[in-house]
C-alpha cells in the first residue's frame, strides 16, 4: 500500500460523507448552537441580541431557570449561570443526540462498501480488507472529531466575541463526543458487515448505546448501595469492637443476594457484563478529569476534604507553611482554627486555609446538656466569643453567608457545592482579618484573609469577593454524582479511569476485530 492509496481512501470517504444527506443535516444542526452563541450575548448584567440590537434583563429568564431547577437562592454570577445553562444543554445534546446523529451519518459506510457490485470494484484493488475496514473506521472518527471541534470551537468563539466570556474548557467537549462515537461506530460497523444493512446498523447501534448506558447506571446504583451497606457494617463492627463484643450475624440475616444459586449467579454475571461492556457513561466524567489533569492542578486541592482553591488572587503566590506559620492569640482560638494547610502571600497580605476535625458540640439548653455535630454556626459563635474575650479586643463583625457557586454546573461539572459558612471580620495588632469557617464531610476549614488595617474597605471587599469566588467544597456525594466522584485515576480498579478507558478501548478493538474477521471471510 502506498501514499496514493491512502489519499484515495480518504478522498473516497470525503466524497461519500459530503454526499450523505444525514451528514448535511448534521452540519446544519452544528451551525445552530454556534449561531446562537454568536447571536445571543450573556453580559454581566444583561443579555443582548446581535451585539446590542435588543437587550433583556436577566430577571425573568433566570426566574424561569431557577424555578425549573427548583432553587430559590439568589444568583450572583448571572453571566456564568446562563453560560453554564447553555453549556449544559450543549453537553446533553452532543452526548446523546450527537451520538445518534453521528451514527446515522456514518452507518452506511460498511453496507455500501460491501454492496453487491460495489465490493467487486473496490476489493480487487491491491488493498487488504483490514486496511479498507479500518480506513472506514478512522475516517468516520476523523469526520466526527472535526465536526465536534467545529461545534465546540464555534461556540467558544461565539461566547468570546458576543459575551466576552473566555472558557477554553468548552473545547474539551469534542473529546467526549469523539470518544463515544469511536465506541458506537465500531458496533455500527460490525452490524453493518454482519447484516449488510444501513438501517440495521443504525437501529442496533443506538439500541446498544441506550441499553449499555442503562446497564451502567444500574451498576452504579448497585455499587453505591453496596458501599453504603459496607459502610454501615464497618460502623457496626467498630461499635461492637469498642464494646468488646463480637457482632455475629444472626441466623437468616445474611445478605439476600448472597444466598441461593441464582442470586449470586445473576449478580456475578452482572459484574462480568459490566466489566466487559464499554463504559460509555463515563465519557463526560473522564473528559472533565482529563481536562483537570491536563490543565494543571488547582491552586490548592485538599483531597481529604474536597476543599479546593481554583486560582489565587492576582499577585499572590503560595508560601511554604513553615515560613507562614504564626502564633494565634491563644490555645482555644488555635483549636478552632486547626492546623494551617495552605498559605499564599503578596507584598503585605496573606490568604490561608486551616483544617481540623469536626467537633462534637456541647450546649446547655436550660438544665439539659445537648450534644450536636458542629456546624459553621457553632464554630462562628465560639470563635466570636473567644475573639471578644481577648484583652484589647476590638469589634468583631460576625455574620452567616453561604459559600460556593449557585450555578448548577460550570464547564459541565459541578464546581463547588453551596456550603453554610460563618464570617468574622476583626482587627488586631494593626491587621484586618476576615475569617470564614466552613464544614466539609468530617472536617472543618478556616479560611483567613489577612491584610494591613490601613487597606480601605472597598479593597478588602474586592479581595474577599475575588478570593472566595475561587474556593469552596467540591460536589458532594449525592446519589446523582456518587459514581462521578468515585471514578478517579487512583481509585480501586472497578472505579478506576484507566480501567474504564482500557476496557472500553478493548471492547472497541474486539468489535473491530470481529468485523474484520467476518469481512475477511466474505466471498463477494
Amino acid at each position: 500500500m502506498n501514499a496514493n492509496m491512502v489519499k484515495a481512501l480518504v478522498l473516497d470517504a470525503v466524497y461519500q460523507v459530503l454526499d450523505n444527506r444525514v451528514f448535511r443535516i448534521m452540519a446544519v444542526l452544528v451551525l445552530l448552537p454556534i449561531g446562537l452563541s454568536f447571536a445571543i450575548g450573556f453580559r454581566e448584567e444583561e443579555m443582548v441580541f446581535l451585539f446590542g440590537l435588543k437587550r433583556w434583563d436577566y430577571g425573568p429568564i433566570l426566574g424561569f431557570f431557577t424555578d425549573f431547577v427548583g432553587t430559590t437562592v439568589e444568583i450572583d454570577d448571572k453571566q456564568g449561570y446562563m453560560v453554564g445553562v447553555f453549556e449544559w444543554w450543549l453537553d446533553r445534546i452532543s452526548s446523546n443526540f450527537g451520538v445518534i446523529f453521528t451514527i446515522a451519518a456514518t452507518a452506511f459506510f460498511v453496507p455500501q462498501m460491501i454492496e453487491k457490485g460495489a465490493a467487486d470494484v473496490l476489493f480487487h484493488k491491491p488493498i487488504g480488507r483490514l486496511v479498507l475496514y479500518l480506513s472506514r473506521y478512522f475516517t468516520g472518527l476523523l469526520f466526527i472529531g472535526l465536526l465536534s471541534l467545529v461545534l465546540v470551537g464555534g461556540v467558544y468563539f461565539g461566547f468570546l466575541i458576543a459575551s466576552g466570556y473566555n472558557d477554553p474548557g468548552i473545547l474539551w467537549g469534542a473529546l467526549t463526543l469523539t470518544y463515544l462515537f469511536g465506541v458506537i461506530h465500531s458496533i455500527s460497523m460490525l452490524v453493518g458487515v454482519l447484516t449488510r444493512s444501513t438501517v440495521a446498523a443504525i437501529l442496533l447501534s443506538i439500541l446498544f448505546f441506550f441499553l449499555n448506558g442503562g446497564l451502567q447506571i444500574a451498576w452504579g446504583f448497585r455499587a453505591q448501595y453496596r458501599a453504603m451497606v459496607e459502610e454501615e457494617d464497618a460502623l457496626l463492627a467498630a461499635e461492637a469492637n469498642s464494646e468488646s463484643e463480637e457482632l455475629e450475624p444472626e441466623e437468616g440475616e445474611e445478605e439476600e443476594e448472597d444466598s441461593g444459586f441464582w442470586g449470586p449467579l445473576f449478580w456475578n454475571g452482572f459484574e462480568v457484563v459490566h466489566c466487559v461492556l464499554p463504559k460509555t457513561g463515563d465519557a463526560d466524567v473522564i473528559t472533565r478529569k482529563v481536562r483537570r489533569a491536563v490543565e494543571g492542578a488547582d491552586a490548592y486541592d485538599d483531597e481529604l476534604t474536597d476543599f479546593a482553591i481554583l486560582e489565587l488572587p492576582a499577585g499572590f503566590e503560595e508560601t511554604p507553611l513553615d515560613a507562614f506559620r504564626r502564633e494565634l492569640p491563644n490555645a482555644e482560638i488555635t483549636a478552632i482554627y486547626g492546623e494551617p494547610t495552605f498559605a499564599a502571600t503578596d507584598e503585605d497580605s496573606v490568604v490561608s486555609v486551616w483544617r481540623r476535625d469536626r467537633r462534637e458540640i456541647e450546649r446547655q439548653i436550660g438544665s439539659k446538656t445537648r450534644y450536636y455535630t458542629e456546624r459553621s454556626k457553632h464554630a462562628g459563635e465560639d470563635l466570636a466569643a473567644l475573639l471578644g474575650a481577648l484583652p484589647d479586643a476590638g469589634t468583631v463583625d460576625h455574620y452567616a453567608e453561604s459559600m460556593g457557586t449557585n450555578s448548577p454546573k460550570k464547564h459541565g461539572a459541578p464546581i463547588f457545592m453551596r456550603s453554610a459558612a460563618a464570617h468574622l471580620k476583626w482587627e488586631r495588632d494593626g491587621r484586618y482579618r476576615h475569617t470564614i469557617l466552613v464544614g466539609t464531610k468530617d472536617w472543618f476549614h478556616t479560611i483567613e484573609i489577612d491584610l494591613p488595617a490601613t487597606v480601605d474597605e472597598a479593597a478588602r471587599e474586592d479581595l474577599a469577593t475575588d478570593f472566595l469566588s475561587q474556593c469552596g467544597v467540591r460536589g458532594s456525594a449525592t446519589a446523582s454524582n456518587w459514581y462521578d466522584e468515585k471514578l478517579d485515576w487512583d481509585a480501586e480498579w472497578r472505579f478506576n479511569i484507566f480501567f474504564s478507558i482500557g476496557s472500553t478501548l478493548l471492547f472497541t478493538a474486539v468489535m473491530l476485530g470481529l468485523g474484520w474477521l467476518k469481512l475477511s471471510r466474505i466471498d463477494f
Binding site: 496514493n4 457490485g117 491491491p126 466471498d523
Partner: protein
C-alpha cells in the same frame, strides 16, 4: 506454455458448505493456463462457474481446493492485484462521483499518483466516448455509459492483465465496436485480456483461445479454429443459379439452393470436378467457401451434449 500469467490447477469452489450440508459446487477441478499477450475467452451457460473462477483469481472469493496463481503469486495477493484491471459483471460504481472522479479515485487505489492519472484520464474518457458526460455524476448515467466508464476504470492504471466480465453488456453496437477496438489495441501492446462473455460472436472475433465451461468444469479448450471445425460442406456462390443444378452436377439428391448459390457436402478432391461442371455449363463462379461451425453452434452443440450426459 511459456511466460504463463494465469495458472490454475485442480481448482474447486463449494459455496455454503457446512458440517451438516455439502453445499453447492460452483467449480469442480478446473485447470488452465493463460499466456502473456493473449486474448482468452471464457464461455459457458449461466451458472457454469465462469464468474466464480474470475473472482477466485482476483481474490474476491476463496478457493475450496486446488490452487490459482497470477504472475507466479497465489491469487489474491496484493502483489498480483496491483498488476490487474477488472470490469465486473453488473458492477456498481459510486453514484456520488463523476465519471472523471471514478477514474482518478480507482486509479489512485491501484497505486497510481494523481499527476500520472491527470495525463491519462482524459485520454481514456475520450477513448470510451464519454467526453461529454465525464463531469456528470455516475448516478445519472445510463447502463451503457456506466459500462464504458467501468471499462475505463479497469484500464486507466495500465495493468498487464485485464479481466472483462461481460464487457459489452448493455452497450450499443457502436460501443461494442469501440470495446473490440480497445481489446485489439491492448493485444497489440502485449496486454493479456481475459474475457467472460455470452456474446459468442464477440468472443469469436477477438479471442485467441477459448475455454468452454459447464457445471463448474471445463468441457472444451482450444483456439477459435479448433473450436469451429470444418463441416465438410462447401458453399458455391454462382451467377446465375441454374435451375437444373442436380442434373448439371450429376447429383443423386438435389442440393440446398438459395438465390445466390448452393451448398454441397463434398470432400476437397471433388471440388475441382464441381468447378469444371459449372464452367462447362456456362455458370460464373463468384465465391467458393468451405463451411465451418460458428462458435455459437459449436458451443450449443457442446452444452447440449454435456446436458445429455
Amino acid at each position: 506454455m511459456s511466460d504463463t500469467i494465469i495458472s490454475v490447477s485442480d481448482l474447486a469452489k463449494t459455496y455454503g458448505q457446512r458440517l451438516w450440508k455439502s453445499g453447492f459446487r460452483a467449480i469442480d477441478g478446473v485447470s488452465l493456463e493463460v499466456g502473456r499477450g493473449s486474448v482468452f475467452g471464457l464461455l459457458g451457460p449461466n451458472g457454469a462457474g465462469k464468474t466464480t473462477l474470475i473472482k477466485i483469481l482476483l481474490g474476491l472469493v476463496r478457493e475450496s481446493e486446488g490452487s490459482a496463481q497470477l504472475f507466479g503469486l497465489p491469487a489474491g495477493r496484493a502483489g498480483s492485484r496491483r498488476r490487474i484491471g477488472y470490469l465486473p459483471e453488473a458492477h456498481r460504481l459510486p453514484g456520488y462521483l463523476s465519471g472523471e472522479q471514478v477514474l482518478m479515485l480507482y486509479g489512485m487505489l491501484s497505486g497510481r499518483s494523481k499527476s500520472w492519472l491527470r495525463e491519462r484520464v482524459p485520454r481514456w474518457i475520450e477513448r470510451v466516448g464519454m467526453r461529454q458526460s465525464a463531469q456528470r455524476k455516475v448516478r445519472e448515467y445510463s447502463k451503457g455509459m456506466t459500462q464504458r466508464i467501468g471499462l475505463a476504470q479497469a484500464l486507466v492504471h495500465e495493468p498487464e492483465l485485464i479481466f472483462l466480465d461481460e464487457p459489452t453488456d448493455g452497450v450499443d453496437p457502436v460501443g461494442r465496436r469501440v470495446i473490440r477496438e480497445i481489446v485489439a489495441g491492448l493485444k497489440e501492446k502485449g496486454v493479456t485480456v481475459f474475457i467472460n462473455s455470452h456474446l459468442l460472436m464477440e468472443v469469436e472475433m477477438i479471442c485467441d483461445r477459448v475455454v468452454i465451461m459447464d457445471k463448474g468444469r471445463i468441457i472444451r479448450e482450444g483456439t477459435v479454429d479448433e473450436l469451429t471445425p470444418k463441416t465438410g460442406v462447401v458453399r458455391f456462390e454462382v451467377d446465375p443459379v441454374p435451375s437444373d443444378l442436380q442434373k448439371l452436377l450429376e447429383l443423386p439428391t438435389p442440393p440446398e439452393v438459395d438465390d445466390k448459390g448452393f451448398e454441397l457436402s463434398v470432400n476437397e478432391g471433388e471440388v475441382d470436378a464441381v468447378i469444371d461442371k459449372l464452367r462447362a455449363g456456362g455458370i460464373s463462379i463468384r465465391a467458393i467457401e468451405p463451411r465451418k461451425l460458428t462458435l455459437e453452434e459449436s458451443f450449443i452443440d457442446l452444452v447440449k451434449r454435456e446436458s445429455a450426459q
